[in-house]
């Protein structure tokens, strides 16, 4: 890879709108693995539109590579639309959970201050351990690890990234417009499909 390509690499947030279909995750993941590209973060969840799922994928690449890979993803049958954005174009969050021994924390830490300074909250407080939660960018959630580490951090977990674009239009309208603008033909799917349980008997 040329030096220029290295310099031009940055984090991109890929948003994929798909139908909810078994095996699609593998199909999408393979598009990256086939090209020896590492996925930094991957989150899937239902979207605000019924039957449509949303993938958030983060990769570190050049825009040229990202745009090509997005077209390859969009080419998959069950994929409706793919967008990509730089970190500047999105509002993104990751969630982190920290499990620490309750007695140490209670004795040695000014918990109230810790929570306030790190935007954290206690999720569970038990006799043996306490779980804190915080959300934010990587450096913010990393920071709390550093603080809690000396107090016997037992377990730490961080979620995949979720992101929403700053562009005020949002995806919802675009997606609905897209579905309106590109209806290939009149929908004449198998008439029995939508009422399968009612129509077919075993």
């Amino acid at each position: 890879m040329s030096e220029q390509a290295h310099i031009d690499r940055e984090e991109y947030n890929i948003t994929v709108y798909t139908e909810n279909q078994v095996g699609l995750l593998t199909r999408i993941a393979m598009i990256f693995s086939r090209r020896k590209m590492n996925i930094l973060s991957l989150n899937t969840s239902p979207s605000e539109i019924e039957g449509i799922h949303r993938f958030n994928i983060v990769i570190h690449e050049t825009e040229e590579v990202v745009s090509k890979i997005c077209r390859q993803i969009e080419k998959q049958v069950e994929v409706l639309k793919v967008y990509y954005h730089t970190n500047e174009d999105v509002i993104w969050q990751e969630m982190a959970l920290y499990k620490v021994p309750t007695d140490v924390i209670a004795e040695k830490v000014k918990v109230e201050r810790l929570l306030r300074e790190n935007g954290a909250r206690a999720v569970v407080i038990r006799r043996d351990y306490t779980v804190f939660e915080t959300t934010g960018h990587r450096e913010e959630t990393d920071n709390l690890i550093k603080i809690l580490q000396p107090y016997g951090l037992i377990e730490f977990v961080r979620s995949a990234r979720i992101a929403i674009i700053k562009d005020s239009d949002g995806f919802n309208r675009k997606l609905r417009e897209f579905e309106r603008a590109e209806p290939s033909h009149e929908v004449v799917e198998n008439e029995y499909l939508n009422s399968r349980e009612k129509v077919f008997s075993m």
Binding site: S184, E189, N190
Partner: protein
């Protein structure tokens, strides 16, 4: 009430399927049981290996333009389809493969003949799906056919568990599908891009058209010819596009790529506007990308948006089915001729004839060449036969020299380069077009990879002409070893059986020739023989296919020797 197997066969009937290539086994037995009642409306061709079955399906699809249908059982049956799926995927061939699967309750238990077929075939299919409940069969089959044949076509695999094949359910009929929520097979044609493309073409001094299989997949041969004849632009083809414009059309200037013609390769780096129609700039066509057509503005017509800018940066992308976009473009371009520019291609052609072609097609003495065999075949078939080639030197020679007057006449494994493709693909091609002569041109390496399909020919009685060009080497590898590995001929010396005897064992007539004076008569005998015929032609051992763009070189660095 129908069983899942019966519902599947009903679905295939509604889809107009008349031929299935397959091999039965434990996990697909209920479907084969249902098939028993559907003959003779649906013909089943019993192949000798599932790989043969899927290549036959590909040959059928490529010759007829219909969807090829293939049956295989679970586990080893299904995994034997993988090569053909990869081949069909890269060459955009519409296929629906149905594989049996173990009972749903056994999935994931390493049951007898169980393999994760969906997992294995995901990267080599346009779409795949596992059915575990019979009620899914009509819906999924309808989707499968729609996906396989629409947009950029491709292979689809449906894996059906045995319980779903056996399960009885109330079958309410089958309606073909033409819409899937998330699937847009045809991009919307953007007229502003058509206008921009027409402007570029109208201003061009040295425009050049490259076409690929997309012209045939879109059934746009007529539209393509009309566009070419109005603009007067010279046009060259990829091996997948061969035949979409007749070989002797005055604007057809030859084959592109590694073993393509001299003129079109050199002129790619001299044209000012490059118009790519339904082709994907494969590395075997472009050579070094950083030295490919850098001076040209590129117009790319393709149905698959992912192909635009994938390899070559496009100035004007024309998304869409070329059957729609070409007429729009033709309307907007000026009627022109480019006699001086076209003449340059013919100059290079003359140079190539003097340096390579004459000696290859009309050798004065010595052993027979592959080129002269193809030349003789052209004479006798008058360019009307379907030529199915395997992979290697003979493939490049056949693609270079075969005369193709009709579309869908060149069937070859272009993208994957699958040895063993030709014999089964020729069987399928013949089933797809019973009224045409089908000649399989195969090397002595490739024939031995799927030679068992002679048994399929024997049993089905299909009339396929098999021509083995035997140079007693794995010729293309040997050529590379000669040119790039200091003649270290590592494991390319391959011994053949007595092919005529082998054919005889399968009840197929055959002949072997090694003298030039016997060639024409032998070819005539093959072509006139009622039924299948195997002709082995002994050709010169160490002949190289030239011209050649060496790997890592620019197309304009093409070597004549």
């Amino acid at each position: 009430m129908l069983s899942g197997g019966q519902a599947l066969l009903h679905a295939l009937t509604v889809e107009g399927v008349d031929t299935i290539f397959g091999y039965p086994g434990g996990a697909i037995m209920p479907i084969y049981d249902a098939l028993y009642d559907f003959e003779p409306n649906i013909k089943h061709v019993l192949v000798r290996h599932e790989q043969g079955g899927i290549h036959a399906g590909q040959g059928y699809a490529r010759s007829s333009g219909k969807v090829g249908v293939v049956f295989a059982t679970s586990g080893p049956g299904a995994t034997n389809l993988v090569t053909g799926l990869a081949d069909a995927q890269i060459d955009s061939t519409p296929l629906v493969c149905i594989t049996g699967q173990v009972f749903a309750h056994l999935l994931g238990t390493d049951a007898f003949q169980e393999a994760d077929v969906i997992g294995i075939t995901t990267p080599v299919t346009k779409w795949n799906y596992q059915i575990t409940d019979a009620t899914e069969i009509p819906e999924v089959l309808a989707k499968a056919f729609h996906i396989a044949r629409s947009g950029r076509p491709g292979p689809v695999l449906i894996d059906i568990t045995k319980n779903a094949q056996l399960q009885k359910f109330e079958f309410k009929g089958y309606t073909p599908c033409d819409h899937i929520r998330s699937y847009r097979p045809k991009p919307i044609v953007r007229h502003e891009y058509i206008r921009a493309a027409a402007e570029l073409i109208n201003k061009a001094q040295k425009p050049f058209v490259l076409w690929g299989q997309g012209v045939m997949l879109g059934s746009a041969e007529t539209e393509f010819k009309a566009f070419l004849e109005k603009t007067g632009i010279p046009a060259a083809w990829t091996i997948m596009g061969a035949g979409a414009l007749p070989s002797d059309h005055p604007q057809n200037v030859g084959m592109l790529g590694m073993h393509g013609n001299y003129g079109p390769n050199v002129m790619t780096n001299e044209c000012d506007v490059l118009i790519a129609v339904g082709m994907r700039f494969d590395d075997r066509v472009t050579g070094r990308l950083d030295k490919y057509a850098k001076q040209a503005k590129v117009i790319h017509l393709d149905i698959d948006p992912a192909e635009i800018d994938k390899n070559v940066k496009t100035t004007v992308p024309v998304w869409g089915d070329c059957k729609e976009t070409l007429p729009l473009l033709t309307q907007m371009v000026e009627t022109k001729q480019h006699p001086a520019w076209l003449a340059k291609f013919r100059e290079f052609e003359q140079k190539e004839i003097d340096a390579v072609i004459r000696e290859e097609l009309f050798p004065a003495s010595g052993e027979m060449t592959m080129g002269e065999v193809i030349q003789q075949l052209n004479e006798l078939t008058k360019g009307e036969a379907i030529i199915v080639t395997d992979v290697g030197q003979h493939q490049m020679v056949a693609c270079r020299y075969a005369k193709l007057n009709q579309t869908r006449s060149n069937i070859t494994s272009g993208g994957l380069g699958t040895m063993g493709f030709a014999l089964p693909a020729a069987i399928g091609a013949k089933f797809g077009t019973l009224d045409r002569t089908v000649v399989a041109v195969i090397g002595d390496g490739g024939i031995q990879m799927t030679i068992q399909e002679l048994g399929t020919i024997m049993q089905s009685g299909i009339d396929v002409k098999i021509m083995i060009l035997n140079n007693q080497f794995l010729g293309m590898v040997r050529q590379w070893q000669e040119l790039f590995h200091e003649r270290r001929y590592s494991f390319v010396d391959i011994t053949s059986p007595d092919y005529v005897m082998v054919a005889k064992g399968y009840g197929i007539a055959g002949k072997s020739v090694n003298q030039r004076e016997d060639l024409t008569a032998a070819l005539q005998e093959m072509l006139h023989h009622p039924g299948a015929f195997l002709l082995e032609v002994m050709v010169t051992k160490e002949n190289n296919v030239f011209p050649m763009v060496p790997q890592g070189c620019s197309v304009s660095e093409i070597r004549l020797k």
